[in-house]
Symmetry: C2
Subunit: 329 residues, 2 copies
DNA sequence: CATCGTTGTTCCAACGATGTAAAGACCGAG
DNA sequence: CTCGGTCTTTACATCGTTGGAACAACGATG
């Protein structure tokens, strides 16, 4: 692999002159510049990023800390973050926490300023005292505890209200919620939105219709739905706090021969790619994931430069994708 | 951020002695070691990986080049590769190519030895002449052109044969295939396995039942299925070359009120997480993804050390997950 | 007590890049 | 022909780390 030294020798100039050419420094004589450029071409020189970053005091990487890539929402988001970061010459380092406290602590601990310039976090279990980060960071979504970090995400309360309002507008009256979880910040907000929509329509809040979910996997949704269908007076609609829960719920409904949407309308949250193709297809709150990714990276770019610690809260847009799980064709 | 120098000053020893302690060098006097360790603790020292790797001539990163994280198979695989790499103190850099030739070339070009120690590739469109890699690499799956790289993956012909044999054993006689594509190495092999199973059972090969797919997304599967159902004499089973195609096909079947599996049995390939939860759930060839990830990383570890260029072909195990899309409960 | 081998420590150079300061080249003005 | 200023290039130090050689201390050996 060619180094600056090799190029310099070939071009017959000093190492620094080559460096100047590579970095676009103005004052280089045209003929020297030409010779250097020819030498760069001939050697196929590529800067050694490690060395450059060592000298410059940055790493060229940002970390993306998330529960698991096998969760479609995070996989899709990760793809978009990588694309957004690439535009600013950042490489993305993905750390999986598996949603556990120890996993999250481990990931955070490995995040020194020597490894990454900044971080995007999607924590689930972290405690306040864990947020002693050594690099600038933004948070995606909401967290259960108040945390001294800027955040990017949609307005969860508004989105949840919107979703439940949709169910109410379809004439549903016994509307369940799957996904309550005191550990999760977003869960509390979505529950709040759910209650707000009920209240607004003058419907009673029935806590037996609120089913908690420890994790947000398909299996949890399926189990929760079983519990709901076993009730004496089962619901006529369910608001699931993410699409995986909804897919699980739909699966259980199918197994029990409950017709969706006729007997039971279902709304999800996240609008995973797969949700458009299930049968029936899933109505879902659709956050603008690309906007989230872009906003997070942009925020880090500001933060990485100046050390002012002004907390931001960037609200990205969302919409409701209405599909067959709530409305018949 | 503390450096070796800071620790050395605090402990009253030389920088190298601290380095020796950090790297577990044996011959350090117990009391010095203790003082150094205390100083390490006190300063919260973390080695600067950039500097270390610069000195050691490695980067600590491997690249994972894949089409897109929003494709579940690759997302799941990426998660497993990250986990496997972590065990060997490697960080993973994910590059998305979006399955295009230009995207793949771009990704490969950015892969110098200064950035990564090795690479795991999942190419789709690359030509032979593109494989001038400057770092050791392994390939996942099969490629259309013969390529001078070791590979890891399942036996595609055998797996496809196995899948189609399953359909035949259920009494299906007009078995279609979705996903033929001359660009893709795996497509040719899966088609070969499909033909082999037909031949073995004495069934005729009908090229009108082989539907090509440009991409392997859900939409492509849906479109292909429409074409099949529009035939004068539609098939009674479909073998889809991946689960996304199968999900799309199932969607179309549902829209056309074709009963699965009674009227039409469907088998997929990849066994995505979502396939266990669709209605009906999807029978699918299940490659051992964790084994693939582990094998790929292990292979790179060997390659990264010695420069011997002996090509390997690691066959990982697979199984057939039989579910409702082929067998009624 | 000179010599030796083992153990423990330090110094120096190097990895490849860039910032700084100083030196060199060049020009026009006085 | 000198001076002062603008360009242009270079030498050197530096980022944080580690390998290698050199050196120092030590008890054991002859």
């Amino acid at each position: 692999m060619a180094t600056l030294k090799d190029v310099a020798r070939l071009a017959g100039v000093s190492v620094k002159t080559v460096s100047n050419v590579v970095n676009g420094y103005s004052f280089v004589k045209p003929d020297n510049r030409a010779r250097v450029e020819a030498a760069l071409e001939a050697t196929g020189y590529r800067p050694n990023l490690g060395a450059r970053n060592l000298r410059r005091g940055r790493t060229g990487f940002i970390a993306l800390v998330l529960p698991e890539l096998s969760i479609p929402y995070f996989a899709e988001l990760a793809g978009l973050v990588i694309a957004a970061a690439q535009e600013h010459e950042w490489n993305v380092l993905i750390e999986q926490t598996f949603g556990t406290l120890s996993g999250e602590r481990l990931a955070l601990a490995s995040l020194g300023p020597h490894l990454v310039d900044a971080a995007i976090l999607s924590p689930e279990a972290l405690q306040v005292e864990d947020f002693q980060l050594s690099v600038p960071a933004v948070m995606l979504g909401e967290h259960a505890v108040d945390v001294p970090l800027s955040r990017v995400g949609i307005d969860n309360v508004a989105a949840a209200t919107f979703a439940v309002r949709h169910l109410i507008s379809l004439g549903r009256r016994r509307i369940a919620a799957i996904g309550a979880n005191p550990q999760r910040g977003t869960a509390a907000l979505r529950l709040e939105g759910y209650r707000a929509a009920l209240a607004e329509a003058g419907l009673p809040f029935d806590s037996s219709l609120v089913v908690p979910a420890l994790n947000y996997h398909r299996a949890d949704g399926a189990a929760a739905m079983k519990a709901l269908l076993d009730m004496r007076n089962p619901p006529d609609a369910v608001f699931c706090f993410n699409d995986l829960l909804a897919v699980g719920a739909m699966r259980t409904a199918a197994e029990r021969f409950v017709r969706v949407p006729r007997d039971l309308a279902i709304v999800g949250f996240d609008n995973n790619d797969e949700s458009a193709y299930s049968s029936p297809s899933l109505t879902s709150i659709a956050p603008d994931k690309a906007a989230i990714a872009r906003a997070a990276v942009d925020l880090l770019r500001e933060r990485a430069g100046s050390p002012d610690i002004e907390l931001d809260d960037v609200q990205t847009p969302f919409s409701l994708q209405v599909r067959e799980s709530t409305v018949t064709r």
